[in-house]
């Protein structure tokens, strides 16, 4: 008996599928067309042109650039950071000279002001002397307190989000929902919560609960609950079904299956999502403060409206440092879990 010949047999046609089919190329062309049209609408061409001129002006030092000028102006008005805080003593209620706050001292400043003398109708130079309390790290401390307050808002927003999203996730996972109706209702609530941006719900909640952290916490919690509900539910649906079947076979009910076959599988992922939400809530908490929902955002908005750009710079650096620290801590925690 002859061994079968090496190489492909002639009667069977072996052809590999092509990498680029006509459909892929067509799809690619459509995407390019969409990008070109939408790019025109959002002035992407002008963006590239302005950025290029700004870069060339900065590099060569010749010519004019609107963008470079703008950025330089912002930079110079932000710098230096505002660290100290100065308050006129006359404005402090029940000021106690014998007990000054730490590291602070009292400065006496004399200011010359021109005023119109009503009798002589001449401009007189009047010198006013006032005492000021100067705290060298005062504003930094104030920002730190506000950042902690913002973190507290974010933390509680996350806690309430978890409490809302856990039952929602149970009912909006197709393999756990007791019936079709509960599933649909839970899914709709989750989508609805996710569809409303924090900033928008904060606007309404500030009207309902007044200025302050309550509105902020609730706004963050509602949006994050929609986010967590979706992701928790998807993990429940995607969990390995073999352990679930094994427990069903020994007569475990739905709740026990969830606790013993699903929860151990998804726990690490849940903690990762929750940490991300905490991180995101902190960043969003700074934004919703702009509409009066408490925290550093409210301070930022106030300083920005008063053109105190040095203060704004301190706040921005503070936010950046806190986000960085949260990010590092959660990355470390996540590495431990997996």
């Amino acid at each position: 008996m002859n061994p079968p010949p090496l190489g492909l047999s002639q009667d069977a046609r072996w052809t590999y599928p092509k990498a680029l089919s006509l459909r892929t190329i067509g799809l690619f062309c459509i995407i390019i067309a969409i990008l070109l049209i939408t790019g025109r609408n959002v002035e992407m061409g002008r963006m590239v042109q302005l950025t290029a001129s700004a870069v060339s002006v900065t590099a060569t030092g010749q010519g004019q650039s609107q963008v470079a000028d703008g950025l330089a102006k912002i930079g110079s008005s932000l710098w230096p950071l505002q660290i100290s805080e100065t308050t006129e003593i006359g404005r402090i209620d029940s000021f106690d000279r014998s007990r000054l706050p730490w590291f602070s001292h009292i400065e006496t400043r004399t200011e010359q002001t021109q005023t119109l003398n009503p009798e002589t109708l001449q401009m007189d130079s009047v010198s006013e002397t006032a005492e000021y309390l100067v705290e060298p790290l005062g504003y930094l401390g104030h920002v730190a307190v506000k950042l902690v307050e913002t973190f507290e808002i974010a933390l509680w927003g996350t806690v309430i989000a978890i409490l809302i999203s856990l039952p929602l996730a149970f009912f909006s996972a197709s393999n756990m929902a007791p019936n079709r109706l509960a599933y649909t209702v839970a899914r709709s609530i989750v989508s609805f919560l996710r569809a409303i941006p924090e900033l928008v719900s904060a606007l309404f909640l500030v009207l309902a609960y007044g200025f302050g952290p309550i509105a902020g916490v609730l706004a963050l919690a509602l949006h994050a609950a929609g986010f967590l509900g979706k992701f928790y539910a998807e993990d429940i649906e995607n969990a390995d079904t073999k352990p679930q079947e094994a427990l069903t076979a020994v007569g475990a009910n739905r709740i026990k299956v969830l606790r013993f076959a699903i929860l151990p599988q998804v726990m690490a992922q849940y903690i990762a999502y929750t940490l991300y939400v905490l991180d995101r809530n902190f960043r969003m908490a700074t934004v919703i403060g702009l509409v009066g929902a408490g925290g550093i955002g409210q301070e930022l908005k106030g300083r920005f409206d008063m053109y105190n750009y040095h203060h704004v710079a301190t706040i921005l650096v503070g936010i950046f440092c806190t986000v960085f620290v949260i990010d590092q801590l959660s990355a470390r925690l996540r590495r431990r879990l997996f």
Partner: protein
């Protein structure tokens, strides 16, 4: 096994057609005596798993019935039946990320009140039992804390067997318990299952691919091909030809 032993599990004209139209079982009828070790042989897709799953209600026959102790398996009776019937799985059915200790408690869930289970407050007698069973399948105390996913395949199936014994079952259904293990470990696991069952008088219905293992461990062998029962006999009555028949025949197109 003497033929006078009372019947424990009885299949009566069991047929199963899946919603997509595939017929997994056609009129399968046979009996298993109390305490017997019955092995199901048959190629992949011959309906072995479906037949096993009909015993504990994970699958419901389209027509025909399964009887356990002369009681038909029905949806209503499932909680009682599932306390009597344990299952061992091909892919072990363990939660890889959970500890062996927690996986073991999974086997006793039917007897632990829900709130206690949720809080992880397991009754002491179950904890003791879990340890005894793990020792009896050849695992040591340090395995208790380990994640199931960190164990070797053989060790995982040992946990699977120990878990199946948590509620002192009368029947164990094993769905290709050694399909993902190497030959030596397969031999050990089958030995273990056989001994554990014999010591407790448990009836076993086990599907297998390995004819050699079946001959060595089974009392009774049932052959399935494309959902049809092709033989059912005590192991000593079967010839080599009978075995080769099940796997040799090409499935009809």
């Amino acid at each position: 096994m003497s033929p006078l032993q009372p019947i424990h599990v009885a299949f009566r004209t069991v047929s199963k057609t899946f919603p997509d139209g595939t017929q997994a079982l056609k009129d399968v009828s046979f009996d298993i005596a109390r305490g017997a070790f019955c092995v199901l042989l048959g190629p992949s897709g011959s309906g072995k798993s479906t037949l096993l799953r009909c015993v504990n209600g994970l699958a419901t026959p389209t027509c025909g019935e399964v009887f356990i102790d002369e009681q038909a398996v029905t949806d209503k009776g499932l909680p009682q039946i599932r306390r009597k019937v344990s299952m061992i799985h091909q892919q072990f059915g363990l939660v890889d990320r959970a500890s062996v200790a927690e996986n073991m408690m999974g086997g006793a869930l039917a007897e632990i009140p829900t709130w206690q289970a949720l809080l992880g407050l397991y009754p002491d007698h179950f904890k003791t039992k879990a340890c005894e069973l793990l020792q009896s399948v050849g695992l040591s105390p340090e395995h208790l804390q380990r994640r199931a996913g960190d164990l070797s395949g053989g060790q995982r199936q040992r946990v699977g067997i120990a878990r199946a014994l948590m509620l002192d079952p009368q029947i164990i259904v094993a769905d290709e318990p050694v399909a993902s293990l190497d030959p030596r470990i397969s031999q050990e696991i089958m030995e273990l299952l056989r001994q554990a069952a014999r010591r407790r008088g448990v009836t076993v219905l086990c599907s297998l691919h390995q004819v050699a293992l079946a001959r060595e461990h089974a009392d009774q062998i049932v052959g399935l091909q494309r959902g049809v029962l092709i033989f059912n006999a005590p192991v000593e009555n079967l010839s080599d030809g009978d075995f080769s028949d099940i796997y040799d025949q090409e499935p009809a197109a």
